[in-house]
């Protein structure tokens, strides 16, 4: 096993805790590990043929991830992708890293086993809205509250792709699908809201085709020390085409993407002419900047310990069909689960052997027959 340490995990090297590297491409690219050659996208691309439907948003995400990975400066053998079942779950086969394609919904638990037992690895989970929020909802919220060192990418296409088009826990009310010919009755989850309610320390949202924003978001996620949860709006052009057009389609996204940037006032619109301000009753509202004045705008603070601002922002849009926040909602440091422990256990283990085992067995009351 490699003894390599690098800037990605642990406090020694790489980005210091306070700097999440928002919008500073390349900053994480320098590693203090003995990487021999600069890595390229090809180093992260496996020889398996991709088998998503032509036009699927998963392709764009795959390209972004493969393109972004070299930046981390982590050799691919130190990286593990873990996925569940679903179209999103196939992601693992296309990354030339170590990988586990688990059963439906359990990827966060599998990955917890990897990450807690091997803090030297960089562990990434890819999951779908059914995988992570329907059958796997419990493992997700528990990974989040524990703050396991994982990057969890949720490909949210608001539908079950692999099983051919049933509604998912993020589908809108009244959704007509094969399993709901009369329209679904379910009120959907807002994944960002759920994650915040579950104590997530890092919560972000991005859009499949927005390469640059995806990379920025992944960069911040990679720099985060605990669980980073990233919702990615992903178009399923076969079973739910256009679900995210409001924030994804040319001509609409310019109007509807509310880009959150830490420390900056929340503004959006083609000309940044709109913004978010706190109304007289204390609620956040969408406003015209011209009307309220730029000073009235809420300044985004992703590092606030108390998650309410992030929660309020998440609730600006119940569905991604109108102005919707994109970016990093929350990024705060809190103790990381298990990682340090595992290292100290490895050290402990290195010190014990036959004599200690002997002593252990002889502990407590013993007697001797001769």
């Amino acid at each position: 096993m490699s003894e390599r340490t690098n800037g990605h995990h642990g406090g020694n090297g790489g980005a210091p805790d306070a700097d999440l590297g928002f919008g500073q491409p390349g900053e994480q690219a320098i590693s203090d590990g003995p990487v021999e050659l600069p890595l390229s996208k090809a180093d992260f691309s496996s020889d398996q043929e991709t088998r998503w439907c032509p036009g699927c948003g998963d392709y764009a995400i795959l390209a972004s991830v493969q393109g972004f990975m070299p930046e981390l400066g982590i050799p691919p053998e130190q990286i593990v992708f873990v996925t569940g079942i679903g179209c999103a779950g196939r992601f693992v086969y296309y990354m030339d890293t170590y990988g586990m394609h688990g059963i439906h919904g359990r990827a966060p638990a599998l990955a917890t086993g990897v990450a807690t037992s091997r803090p030297d690895l960089s562990v990434w989970v890819v999951s779908g809205d059914g995988d992570a929020l329907s059958i796997g909802g419990n493992h997700l919220i528990h990974a989040l509250r524990r703050n396991v060192p994982l990057k969890i990418l949720l490909f949210n296409n608001q539908i079950y792709g692999l099983t051919k088009g049933q509604y998912s826990p993020t589908s809108e009310e009244g959704k007509v699908t094969k399993s709901t010919p009369f329209g679904s009755q379910d009120h959907p989850f807002n994944p960002v809201s759920l994650a915040l309610g579950a104590e997530a320390s890092f919560v972000a949202r991005t859009v499949d085709t927005d390469k640059k924003h995806v990379a920025e978001t992944l960069r911040a996620a990679a720099a985060h020390q605990g669980t980073a949860f990233v919702e990615i709006y992903q178009n399923c052009n076969v079973f739910n085409d256009g679900a995210f057009d409001a924030v994804r389609a040319k001509g609409e996204k310019e109007r509807n993407q509310i880009r959150l940037e830490h420390g900056k006032p929340v503004r959006f619109g083609a000309e940044d002419e709109r913004g978010v301000a706190r109304g007289p009753d204390g609620r956040l509202e969408l406003v015209d900047v011209a009307t309220v004045g730029a000073d009235a705008l809420v300044v985004h603070d992703a590092e606030r310990r108390e998650p309410s601002l992030a929660f309020e922002l998440a609730h600006l849009a119940a569905r991604p069909t109108a102005p919707t926040p994109i970016g990093i909602f929350r990024a705060v440091d809190r103790p990381v689960y298990g990682a340090e422990l595992s290292a100290s256990l490895d050290e402990a283990r290195a010190e014990v052997g036959t004599p200690e085992l002997e002593a252990l067995l002889h502990s407590g009351e013993t007697w001797t027959v001769s």
Partner: protein, 613 residues
Amino acid sequence: MEEKTLEKLDRVVVRFAGDSGDGMQLTGSRFTDATAVVGNDLATLPDFPAEIRAPAGTPHGVSAFQIHFASRDILTPGDHPNVLVAMNPAALITQLGAVEKGGTVIVNEDGFSDHNLRKAGYESNPLEDDSLDDYRLFRVPMTSMTVRATEGIDGITRRDAARSKNLFALGLVSWMYGRPTEPSTNWIEKKFDDDPGVRDANLAAFRAGYNFGETAELLAVHYEIEAAPAPPGTYRNVNGTQALAYGLIAASVRSGLGLFLASYPITPASELLHALSRHRRFGVHTIQAEDEIAAANMALGAAFSGRLAVTATSGPGMDLKAETIGLAVAMELPLIVVDIQRAGPSTGMPTKTEAADLLMALYGRHGESPLPVVAASTPSDCFHSAIEAARIAVTHRTPVILLSDTFLANSSEPWKLPDVDSLPEIDPRFATEPNEGDRFMPYLRDERLARPWAVPGTPGLRHRIGGLEKEDVTGNISYQPENHDHMTRLRAERIARVEVPDVHVDDPDGDATLLVLGWGSSYGAIEGAARRLRRERGLKLATAHLRHLNPLPGNIEQVLRSYERVLVPETNMGQLSKVLRAEYLVDVESYTKVDGLPIFTRDVMEQVEERLG
């Protein structure tokens, strides 16, 4: 003071019983330690109430501890107590049924208030009517004598003092059976080092009990049980849970693999989580997962990462782990799944024993997903079975189910400590190099049909595994009919090829016609019964006990065919019988017991006598 009579006895079964708050478990374990020191062989069984803390004095709040000790090799905690120590009416009413007719009943008279009698469900006082006529009854006012003995100790109220009455009982019974006092007094002194009042009260209570035995006219006889002949060595007491924990740690040390346990609490498996959580010094990593599914997946993730990965549970948790175990079968990764069986179905009787998960262990997953199954037979055998499970898992890259049960987990026996160097070494043989030119084939197999274990971090061996059917050798996803057929048969074959030792048959004169074949915790009862029947009745019977339930030992068919009749006692409806019948078409006879209690020596004796008597 007249001299008391000293009688010699071969063996005694004592049961201490009282309210959950009465400290009966402590009394039992102190008595056990003093007994071990004398050199008696022994076996013990605690019996906890199902409730956390039932209202004092009620039958369902009774806590009991049974110890069987003898001047010869014994194998079970005993079927029926010869002596019952009952601290209150509830203890008496619930435990008396088990006591042998003519046995001794020692009661704490002070506990028999009207109030307590009513709570226990007595309509009249059994100490005063004829309900105990069949027993030798001793009424001892333990509470008041304890209170009196502790008078004047600083900072001890009457109430406090009364709580030491269990040590009075301990002292009394210690005298009766000639146990040395030092182990108990030393223990009290060490334990309550920082609380002199409590220490002194407990010491006083213990001595008062002991002296009461020696002086009171009530008890005219005391007993001597000679040391049992035992092979030389160092011994300690262990219960099945401790031994299992030690076995897993030993496997970690012997393999050089970090031990990783992910578990979700469930009776009786929680104790293993508790036990292993204390051993950070051995690098043991324990996680309390959000549920059993998560626990199994965490362990599987750790297995992929190169750990000695374990997940432990009981029946209901096994149901939940089934899908993940199937994934481990497909991934061909080492994983130890410990099932400490309890009485089912469903929630069943969580504190009672049963061994009815064998067929589930073998077949409880969808599709064809064979895996090895190993079962422990005695508390100390849990140690060796754990190492064996680890050996098979690591060597053969497969999940292994290790079966124990409530009875094994809780009962204890003296264990001759093994020589650590003699324990099997387990070589993980991690893959470190490409295995086909400069490429790595994750499903290229060795002579055992096991695939390479290449852990993340190893350069050049990046690969991806999962639950979809894989092409052999390459590990790529494959929907090819021939490949699936090949892989399905190969998965069966590689488990069938796991080398397991032949089963040992004990047939002293080689002329038995009846074989009693067991597995799991019935070992003690079967062996014990066989020894008695041979010794006392001269019966010819052979015995054998299976540690490996899958694959079965190579000689089992020949063994089965060597006897006219084969009796298989099980605490289920005949699960091993089913397996043997299907496999070998041998008309084995099933004895089934499904009352939440272990199989007793007496049960086996009866069954054998019916057939050979």
